[in-house]
């Protein structure tokens, strides 16, 4: 028996390209100044710890979980606002779909107010809007939410900063090292180019990837508009063979 046997593997995660991500510290986003490490991150190839991750079953997901218009009132009364379908596909860097992965979203209501004790903006709460939703991607990595378009809102940063309309996204992937939180913006919003949180991303083409285009092909006449937001998670290195001691 040979001592070394080739083993099929594609487990190692592709190292994160930090230049595609926001800078950790940006004086125009004031809170980042004291909350960003001074010292470099410690880089290392991924291990089993990052290559494995929690798996959630369909039993977790309730019938209204991806319907933010109805899920807070549990179907009793719809939320106020511009009805939209927010849909897209979760893929990895190798352009393979990421199936059965949990996508969670949260957002302000149509007036730009969150249902949260710390949100003191005087836009009113909507009694029928909670602001959270979740779903699992299907076998092709597709997901969808029915929601209302969130309002823009002011926030304490520089003298007169406003967040563009946005939906927060949390995606798991299939390994803990793929974990990602991001935000989806909407085509045509003039506040995107004025937002210091958006501007923490220094690569313009990467900012564009967070802006969901209007998707009339998926809009439903007399019911809702649609926006498409695709997400790419870290991929796994496609090394076909790696030499490992036998039995490892």
């Amino acid at each position: 028996m040979p001592k070394w046997m080739p083993r099929m593997t594609d487990a190692r995660l592709i190292p994160r390209d930090r230049s595609a991500h926001p800078v950790p510290r940006d004086p125009d986003y004031k809170t980042s100044v004291a909350r960003s490490p001074n010292l470099p991150l410690l880089s290392m190839p991924s291990t089993l710890t990052e290559e494995t991750g929690p798996v959630f079953g369909h039993g977790l997901i309730g019938a209204l979980d991806n319907n933010l218009i109805l899920n807070f009132s549990q179907g009793a009364a719809p939320a106020i606002g511009e009805r939209i379908l927010l849909h897209g596909r979760v893929m990895d860097e190798n352009a393979r779909p990421v199936p059965n992965t949990l996508v969670e979203i949260w957002q302000a209501n149509a007036g730009g107010r969150y249902r949260h004790v710390k949100d003191t903006y005087f836009a009113p709460l909507d009694p029928n809007f909670g602001g959270c939703g979740r779903t699992l991607t299907d076998e092709n990595g597709q997901y969808q939410f029915l929601t209302i378009r969130p309002g823009a809102y002011p926030w304490p940063n520089r003298g007169n900063d406003w967040r563009p309309m946005h939906v927060h996204y949390s995606i798991f992937g299939q390994g803990f090292g793929q974990r990602l939180i991001t935000q989806c913006y909407f085509e045509g919003d003039p506040l995107i180019d004025r937002c210091p949180i958006v501007a923490t991303i220094k690569d313009r083409s990467q900012i564009d990837r967070l802006v969901a285009p209007l998707d009339m092909a998926r809009a439903k006449p007399m019911d809702f508009l649609a926006y498409k937001f695709d997400i790419v998670l870290r991929g796994r290195r496609q090394t076909m063979f790696e030499n490992r001691p036998e039995g490892m």
């Binding site: 926001p22 089993l48 860097e93 949260h116 602001g131 939180i181 967070l210 991929g235």
Partner: protein, 199 residues
């Protein structure tokens, strides 16, 4: 010009913001009734094998102030070092837990079992550890780190071995404060800055 690669670039991160709790742990945020319960409430179920432990700590910014709005996630192996989904893993170990800094004190608590050692690269073994992911307002890309334990043999761990400034190893090691009790504080910046990972 050259041929075009058919690989994609990862979607950029954005801060989780101050209202991450609404999306991830809505009941904690006061948004009740959408889901039966928040996701990831328990790292382990009753009857999980291994030593039951409680880890408490807090997250500090560069001025020493304790964050009240941080949300953390943990991921770990079972008592013999198998991750959920691996053959033979303890079915009572969920491995994943979500927990938040207390709104008033900033303290967080993780109740779980001590994980076993897990295989590392090139035939090495990684000392028992729990992976942590920290998000909050002002953190533009979620911060990865790990909790190791001061009463375990960490001498051959391949990750800890990579830390050049040896005193910084201590930032990843939970201190034993009692029977099954550990303390793990996270410093985002400055004196005693935690080693954050790019794995």
């Amino acid at each position: 010009m050259v041929q075009k690669l058919d690989t994609l670039t990862e979607t950029p991160s954005q801060t989780a913001g101050p209202y991450v709790h609404i999306g991830c742990i809505p009941s904690f945020a006061g948004v009740e009734g959408v889901y039966p319960e928040d996701l990831g409430l328990r790292a382990v179920e009753q009857g999980a094998k291994g030593e039951t432990i409680t880890i408490t700590g807090s997250v500090h910014d560069g001025t020493g102030w304790t964050l009240r709005d941080a949300m953390l996630e943990s991921w770990q192996a079972d008592a013999v070092g198998l991750y959920p989904g691996q053959d033979g893993a303890d079915p009572k170990v969920n491995g994943f837990c979500r927990f938040a800094a207390d709104k008033d004190s900033g303290e967080f608590t993780l109740q779980t079992i001590k994980p076993g050692a897990v295989p590392g690269p090139d035939g090495t073994w990684q000392a028992p550890h729990i992976a942590l992911w920290i998000v909050a307002r002002g953190i533009n890309t979620g911060l990865q780190t790990r909790i190791y334990f001061e009463d375990e043999d960490n001498s051959a761990d391949p990750l800890l071995a990579r830390i050049e400034q040896r005193p910084r190893v201590e930032t990843l090691i939970a201190k034993k404060t009692g029977d099954g009790q550990y303390r793990f504080d996270i410093r985002l910046q400055g004196d005693g800055e935690t080693v954050f990972l790019d794995i």
